[in-house]
Subunit: 160 residues, 2 copies
DNA sequence: CTGCACTGTAACATGATATATTACAGCTAT
DNA sequence: ATAGCTGTAATATATCATGTTACAGTGCAG
């Protein structure tokens, strides 16, 4: 199994909201065009980001705005916001009917839970370290790299 | 999304193979009884563990045996063996149609891949640290704890 | 060497869920 | 007022995890 694409879609959307922040009509249809999904998916994902306090929107008018600076939005925040994984059970799906009449079956859950939690914690800790500022920085570098291939910057002049 | 229960089932099976290692007729039906799933599931999971070199089995005769000591079998080994997640794409499902005509859509994948990989690496590193010996140790402690509730051990005597 | 127990695997069934799609009520701005 | 937009419900579809039945082939006990 995999973590839902809603996660990468959410990161894409926030990145685009930042990148196109001075542009008009950055609506769900425009964003859907960039992401390559249905506009309704964009609206639902933005809805979850709004519930989590990551973006602000106004019903009826287009253009969500970020509620926090990019470096205050972590992968973990987004991952939780868009329900990337089952909230109750966590990352691992434990088989549901271990036999209570078997000593192994009766105790396997307790015996494993600590270990599964430590794996999940390791993953979440890393997600808390990565912010949208990191991604935006990376994507700007990529885009600059593209431009250089066409019109090499005159680096000696300093400012572009 | 979640990691398939095949993972916890595999850990359960290996734990049971160790716990019942001196018992006869530990076949797929017996194991299925402990795990609480269909015997065919047990056979397929054991099949994957065999392909990964974690257990040895003999067609036609019951009782798989571990191919390595318990402390040589990590969560990561099992996780890979039973295809807990998509081998090609990894832990995260990236949305599949980012728009190549959009600077963000065209570069988001490259910009995120490093970060997604670091999350996956953190998780896998933790999985490599946990071995089946840890789980077996924990479950033995749980089972001993159960027994004490019924027939308290005379701790002063030393040996039980 | 015969019969039983078991494995390995295919084939099919079922249920859950991620994603797509259509539709529309209500809000906003010009 | 009109057009553009959001939020959300309802429904469809596809994928996949898991369950289940079935059976050929292997090993072993007697």
């Amino acid at each position: 199994m995999q973590i839902t694409s809603r996660f990468t879609i959410a990161v894409h959307i926030i990145t685009a909201l930042d990148y196109f922040r001075d542009m008009d009509r950055v609506n769900s249809e425009f964003l859907a065009g960039s992401v390559g999904v249905n506009p309704v998916i964009v609206r639902t994902v933005i809805g979850k980001l709004r519930e989590a306090g990551i973006v602000r929107t106004q019903k009826g008018s287009s253009g969500a705005e970020l509620a926090r600076p990019l470096d205050g939005i972590t992968f973990y925040d987004i991952y939780k916001a868009v329900d990337s994984v089952n909230e109750d059970e966590g990352l691992f799906h434990f088989h549901e009917q271990p036999n209570p009449e078997c000593p192994v079956g009766r105790n396997i859950h307790k015996a494993m839970d600590r270990r599964l939690a430590s794996v999940q914690d390791a993953m979440e800790a890393e997600m808390k370290r990565i912010t949208l500022a990191d991604v935006v920085e990376d994507i700007r570098a990529e885009i600059l790299g593209e431009e250089e291939q066409i019109r090499p910057a005159r680096r000696k002049r300093g400012k572009s």
